[in-house]
Amino acid sequence: MSEEDRDTGASPLLASHDHHGPELTDHDPAHYPVPDPGHPEHLPRLTDVDPKAADRATRQVAFFFGMVPLLAIGFAVVYFAVPGDWFFDFGPLRANARNLGLGVTFGLSLLFIGIGAVQWARTLMSDEEMVDLRHGATSKPEDQQWMLTELDKTVEESKLTRRKIIGRTLLAALGFVFVPMLVGLADLGPWPTKKKRAETIEKTLWAEGVRLVNDVTFAPIKADDIEIGQLVNGEPENLQDLHGAEFQIEKAKAAIVVVRMDPNTIQIPASREDWQVGGILCYSKICTHVGCPISLWEQQTHHLLCPCHQSTFDLGNSGVVIFGPAARSLPQLPITTDAEGYLVARSDFTVPVGPSYFERDSRQDYEEGDN
């Protein structure tokens, strides 16, 4: 060992190192250079020597415990007497008075029990530390021995070792008895077969001639009413015929955003020339990442930002992804105007909307540079 090593205490590499066996470690000088000085002398607390201090501590504990009945009754008073529309206004706190009152009275009553109990333990209860001996976690050798012998006897008495087929068939039985339980779960939901998928997640309410309407108001939208830079959160007009779960399910697929941009500032591929009306484009509102609705549109950059995980789509370039964890462009809905000038869909979306799934054929989705 070099001088340096000795000073810093760094040890050389060892060729091997024996560990102690399963018993608890012993105290050999090589590993434990300083012998145990023993338990430190117990020093008394102020409350142990000074009766006045002890009385003061007692009063403190009693005070905390004694406040609890008052606070508990206070809770009842607040509960019955304070109406729900009162508000407590003080500095940054402008809160419902009843909630505040109930919580403060109940909370303090609990807290005071705790503080009293702890103060009692800290100041008045005996604080002599005690020593308990440990025993290793393993059982005593005679217990282990007994166990092994009895186990042998059990196996012997069961005749299992001589008639092995019993054991094997038992294992098979126990293995298979779970099959009915698993099979019984098969109706957890409809099976997403190809046919089912085509009826459900690959289809929306949109179809030829369905009018675009403003979400919430369900007012139809005229192309001329939309200005450059405008965003409309829209739905199909036939959504309002639905209710409850069906309404939510269809909304989660059919929600759209309609944006108007100056046609000179955007790229419209040849295949999508008739999907838009004078710079008015319609896209699915459902993010292709994991399905949050997107309507964070920047009218000057034409970027649409999803607030969930910040996927960003360029609506001036057929919805391609320009940042974030989404991997597919935002589906575009082909639209046109009807005879009265209202915006209508030409057809359903040409690709399934929303998040990806394994069986999805994603070859039709628009990619940067497509025509």
Partner: protein, 591 residues
């Protein structure tokens, strides 16, 4: 009646207390019922090993209790909420007293949550207490598991308890996620949508799992009732079972303790369950309960009436899950997208969604679960450990722990990347890029720094042992040389600083190292390389010879032996557990 396993023989320092004849009212009243119970249950025999069990005292040992008591508060407040909550997605028109949602269609779940918040007295308080308790439950479990990790309390015989704890952490996180999704509000509903999209994107089985979980398409009308039974029945039952097993093992193994005078691997020093520990622990229960109630009174959490009922076409900026899901949220935000989804033929493999969903959680839980066994394989240590490690004495373990925390923290920050952008006025995209790099780089940097810090601390301990504590008094000797006076530390401190068990870095196995067959040999070489990674830089305790030599060196040949009551006789007033054993005259330096 089978004999209970006796784990503690007659404790040498504990005498069974026989109540005296002139006992006070407590004993007089209790004696009858206790005897009734004993004649039927054998209470005395059952309780005997545990009645005066000793528990060591340290504030970090109370972190697990915070988790336990939060869980109890969750159970109690949850029962209250169950009385009024309606776990149904049926559409109703709101007729309650919150005017800003009047007449709107919403699910019964949401409407009943509003009723709890506005029309049932105390309902809002209980809702908020319940939610704060859930946050604290997971936070305390995490803090507790960090304490266990850094002090090495997961070592034999406590590996199973560690596994139970990892299970509890995972269950707690999911329990919370399902719980806050029950009101079917816009914020948690957005989280459900994320869950749906993420499940759907799983390769091969995605649509099947999605349709089975939601009973069809999202959102359907069954997900809330299903989450409800998971949240109030299945998962709490599992948690209760694991908690019971966890506590039983703590009782059986007895609690670990920090090294110090009078403490060895064979003993546990502390206060008995009755009365001191019960008063402190019981008191702490009420304190936790009280703090949670006050938080429910003073701090608003999850104001669902402002967020509104769930609507798949609505969303809020700054939508995040509760904090404990933050690391998964961050992973999915900073994962890049384009190029990470394969379109092979007519199939779509969404690695951009699947990787951040599966990898961080798997890494975290599996990594945590396996760590005790990995460390045990590396060190080959099969002895029991009941004395805790100071983190500095295992620099690599501590470094790995801090690296893991850093990795977790980077992902956690990623979950709030849009809020970082707005609060600190920086570009959202820049934040995301920085985090994408940091998630790989920062843990490595953290490991290196932490390891060096630990070794530095070990060095300062080494200095204290050999040269004593620095007094800050500078002396100048006649030759003009400056030196700082050192004061020897107490025996108690010396003992505490030298109690840790040590591991050694091993050389590669050579010819004389026993019979290893090919694969075994490779494994053994790998293990030895791992010991070098772990322990080659670690400082080791000074041997007794070194200590004595240093002491002699200090006292200019005064010849004092270590351990013979070595104190400086000036009343060093440490206030530590090592009271100086006075009485030894020492030719020490004058004050």
């Amino acid at each position: 009646m089978p004999e209970p396993a006796v784990t503690v023989p007659e404790s040498s320092s504990v005498e069974a207390q026989v109540p005296k004849k002139q006992a006070g009212p407590v004993f007089r009243i209790a004696r009858g019922p206790v005897r009734w119970a004993d004649e039927r249950l054998g209470v005395a025999a059952l309780v005997r090993p545990y009645f005066r069990k000793v528990f060591p005292d340290h504030w970090s040992f109370l972190l697990g209790e915070i988790a336990l008591y939060s869980f109890i508060v969750l159970l109690l407040s949850g029962v209250f909420l169950c009385i009024w909550f309606k776990p149904s997605m049926a559409e109703v028109e709101y007729e309650g007293s919150y005017q800003l949602l009047h007449g709107l269609p919403m699910s019964e779940a949401f409407a009943s949550t509003l009723a709890l918040s506005f029309d049932i007295r105390g309902g809002l308080l209980l809702r908020q207490m319940h939610h704060w308790a859930a946050m604290l439950f997971v936070a305390a479990m995490l803090a507790h598991s960090l304490r266990i990790f850094f002090t090495g309390a997961f070592r034999k015989p406590r590996e199973i308890n560690w596994l139970l704890g990892v299970g509890l952490l995972a269950l707690g996180i999911f329990e919370g996620f399902f719980g806050y999704s029950l009101p079917d509000d816009l914020l948690s509903g957005t989280g459900m949508r994320f869950f749906d999209g993420a499940v759907r994107a799983t390769p091969v089985i995605g649509t099947w799992v999605e349709f089975f979980v939601f009973a069809g398409q999202f959102p359907g009308d069954l997900i809330i009732p299903r989450l409800y039974f998971l949240h109030i029945l299945l998962i709490p039952a599992l948690i209760l079972a694991l908690v019971a097993a966890h506590l039983a093992l703590v009782f059986y193994h007895k609690h670990t303790q920090f090294p110090g005078p009078g403490r060895t691997e064979d003993s546990v020093v502390g206060y008995p369950v009755f009365p001191v520990y019960a008063a402190k622990a019981g008191g702490f229960f009420f304190i936790v309960f009280g703090v949670l109630t006050l938080m429910g009174a003073l701090m608003q959490i999850n104001p669902v009436w402002v967020v509104g009922p769930y609507n798949p076409a609505q969303v809020s900026a700054g939508s995040q899950p509760d904090w404990y899901m933050g690391f998964a949220e961050g992973a999915i935000r900073i994962m890049p997208g384009p190029g990470w989804e394969w379109h092979i033929g007519s199939t779509t493999w969404s690695w951009n969604v699947f990787i951040p969903l599966a990898l961080p959680m798997t890494l975290l839980f599996v990594g945590m679960a396996l760590y005790p066994f990995i460390e045990q394989w590396v060190t080959g240590d099969r002895s029991e450990h009941h004395l805790l490690d100071r983190p500095r004495n295992n620099p690599t373990r501590t470094g790995l722990g801090v690296a893991a925390m850093t990795w977790y923290a980077v992902l956690w920050a990623g979950g709030g990347n849009d809020l970082i952008a707005t609060q600190f006025d920086v570009s959202l995209n820049a934040v995301t890029w920085v985090l994408r790099v940091a998630v790989f780089v920062a843990p490595i940097v953290a490991f290196l720094i932490t390891k060096r810090v630990c070794i530095g601390l070990q060095r300062s301990d080494h200095d204290r042992l050999l040269h004593g504590a620095e007094t800050g008094v500078i002396e100048r000797d006649p030759s003009g040389r400056y030196s700082e006076r050192h004061r020897p530390i107490s025996v108690g401190e010396q003992y505490a600083l030298t109690q840790q068990s040590e591991e050694y870095a091993l050389l590669p196995a050579g010819d004389g190292d026993g019979e290893y067959r090919d694969r075994q040999l490779r494994l053994e070489q790998l293990r030895r390389r791992a010991t070098r990674f772990y322990f080659v830089d670690t400082l080791h305790k000074p041997t007794r010879a070194e200590l004595e030599e240093a002491a002699a060196h200090h006292h200019h040949g005064a010849g004092h032996e270590i351990g013979a009551g070595h104190g400086d006789g000036h009343g060093n007033g440490h206030g530590e557990d090592g009271a100086v054993i006075p009485g030894t005259e020492s030719e020490h330096l004058a004050p």
